[in-house]
Amino acid sequence: MSLKDISTSVPKKDHKGKVSGQLPYISDVKVENMVYGVLVRSPIAYGKIKSIQLPTLPEGYEAVGAEHISGPNYVKIIQEDQPIFANEWVNYIGEPIFMLVGKDLNILYSLLDEVKIDFEEHQAVYTLDEAIQQKSASGITMATYEFGESLETIAAIELGAHQIIEEEYDTGYQEHVYLEPQGMLAIYKEDEIVVQGSMQCLYYIKNALISALDCGADDVRVVQSPTGGGFGGKEEFPSMMACHVAVAAKAVKKSVMLVFDRSEDMVVTTKRHPAKLNYRTALDKEGNILSMCVDIYLDGGANAGLSQVVLQRALINSAGVYNIPHFHAKGYVLKTNTVPNGAFRGFGAPQSFAGIESHIGHLSKLGNFDPLEYKRKYLVKQGDPTITKGIFRDPILVEDMIEDLLNASQYKTKKAEFQRNNPKNQRYKKGVGTSLFLHGCGFTGSGERDHIKATVKLVKSKDDRVSLKISNSDMGQGIYTTLSKIVAKELDLPYERVLYPDPDTKEVPDSGPTVASRTTMIVGKLLERAAKKLKAQWQSGVDQEVFEHYVHREMIPWDEKTFTGDAYPAYSWGVNIVEVEVDTLTGNIKLEKVYGNYEVGKVIDERIMKGQIDGGLAQGLAYGYLEKMTSKQGRIQQKSISDYGPPTAMDVVSIDSKVFDNPYADGPYGAKGAGELTLIGGAPAVQAAIEDALQTSFQQIPITPEVIIESLWRKEGEKG
């Protein structure tokens, strides 16, 4: 198959093995001399371990703990605050204390019940609200940033303002619910430990292992198994599991498998940070914005993890797609004694967009503007500064995308129709809402240059097949296919002759983690360049290798301390329009129509892009009204899929979407990032649609039936 237009879809590389179920995910793997591991976890939220009493272990069963760790006892992420095995203090319910290993899982589970641990319990911080009250206390604030217009200037503007609007907005947890639960296997060999499993970031894991095992780079090897969904949930979390199995394998000299069942996965793995966003906006008489202050609080959970980077992205997106005069923002990650929160598709941006779209929507109502018209007044344009004093360099097509979507969805007609008909229907109310959003592609700031330093490699064999040697994971998003297409097209080679074997750190250089909507844009561009290089020196029938290294295009340099500069090299954009019907008796929401227009530079495969749109939007919409996870006294309350409620096929409707071309010079064939963008607009659009239907305002997501009913009662009470 040769490729005329890069966007034309091709069969996915891994289709056959997936459709037949014969592609082995980690839980399908069995190796010789393999034992299982189960983790003994803290039942309390905060306290000191006084003593541990083990049951008599049958032969072949062993306990592995902190004393078996050769290196420092923490999982190498950013800060050194996450123990591999807690050895004195425990900081959240579910924190691993030690591991029991042995052949039979049933025996391990019954041994688990017999372990007795005495704790000295201490007063825990359970909620974000408690943490906000105590944010000045030692150890509570894990990261903080502040930037923008000076508060003195804003105070002066506020003095002359017609009114000042303050809103507080809350977002909840979101759980990834990748269909394949987390799993990791350490294969024990005399001279190396091979860690294999479900993961997004091979070198994060490798570096964590080198630290934990205190070993050389050649003593550990990381291999990605087919990965059954990631969504960020397999970004940093698998590093901890990898340390568990590798330490255990070294201790017992056997291969050790650790696979979570769904309830363990839901309770102990990272989630999207719950957030509180405070807005304070000065308006003039006509309802125009004079200034805006935003404070963002993220619930980090018990360890820092990646939270500070999540906060950075939340803050950078705190003004949405708008050019707001005199904007100031401050953010905090606060520690609570709850399960650590981490990466999730969007990485801080979904909270910020839900908040700012909600707030701007509410401001528009104050001035009796149509929300979309009001938003358009503030839409950023090419050449405008970003809130961090960077620049929106490239053409912005959002106006065209809005116009197109207004026509496709008949927005104005529908809105008028709903307004006319809603009073006639006592029980069912219809509404339409919009969201405008962007996503900064790639790592924040200078991360690519300073931390990642990606390298890619192409290997050509004698039979003139070319293999991609990179450390990026296909977790379902389709990079085996899209990246292979880029190389095939550049080399003018049939797509079938380009191979992308499961990454193995023994074979692949560090091309960076599979995160941050960077893979297509950054790694894809490196591959495009590598392929050009290979083509120039192509010799048929000969083994050849080429490397290509990341080169940073200097813009306005990013300074993390002052929070200024170009936060991202490029941005992808989106517009959503959503129609809902609200049942005022039950509070149930029915999606009626969903529209999306996107601009991601250039689409590398139309079908894969549509998959990203539909799947991302389903998650984003559900984040707004369906998926609810809570923690009570430090304990996650939803331990099963049905308790939590991710969408089924019955909850979703067909999505009408279109993608606009706007090639980006530093992306392969003009492509930018796409994976995270598609989630971001869902929640704010669904909230706006529910508000339109009920002619009310909400200050939180998810807007569950309970929230709707409560709001209807309150409205009733106000009337009466």
Binding site: K18, G21, D28, G228, G476, K610, G615
Partner: protein, 158 residues
């Protein structure tokens, strides 16, 4: 000793009657196409046919299947129906991470065998017991629609 038919072959097991059919299929008979997603009958990744009915194998104790006819994805892989679903899922882009897909294929086959020309609502209902977190379902719905259209005659009940 429990005796039953697995993918057309009569088999026996010494596993205790309380063992889950899912574990038996995966561990003793080493058929990996049936996946575990939740272990509570909520996600459908472990879907199999028990006497031609779609069931979650994680909820079935093997004591309950003595004499039953069990089919897993491996048992239908050579059929014309599977080949059509395979092609339709590929053309419609129904597969992302793939973990739900064998179960989804089983549910698709069950649906089309009972209702060769389902409406969109019937398709959504037919796969509502199968969770997918990647696709948002629409391209899977398209795939089943495609298989229904192309498979004229193929799905008629025998």
């Amino acid at each position: 000793m429990i005796k039953f038919t697995l993918n057309g072959r009569i088999v026996e097991t010494d596993a205790p009657p309380t063992a889950r059919l899912l574990d038996l299929i995966r561990d003793e008979f080493e058929l990996i196409g049936t996946k575990e997603g939740c272990g509570e009958g909520e996600c459908g990744a472990c879907s199999v046919f028990v006497n031609n009915l779609l069931q979650n194998s994680c909820l079935i104790p093997i004591g309950a299947i003595a004499g039953a006819d069990i089919q897993t994805i491996e048992g239908i892989m050579e059929t014309e129906q599977f080949k059509l679903l395979d092609e339709s899922y590929s053309n419609a882009g129904g597969v992302q991470c793939g973990y739900c897909i064998p179960g989804m294929i089983m549910a698709s086959a069950a649906l089309l065998s009972n209702n060769p020309h389902p409406s969109e609502a019937e398709i959504r209902d037919g796969i509502s017991g199968n969770l997918c977190r990647c696709t948002g379902y629409n391209m899977i719905v398209d795939a089943i629609n495609l298989a229904a259209k192309k498979g004229d005659g193929l799905w008629q009940k025998k």
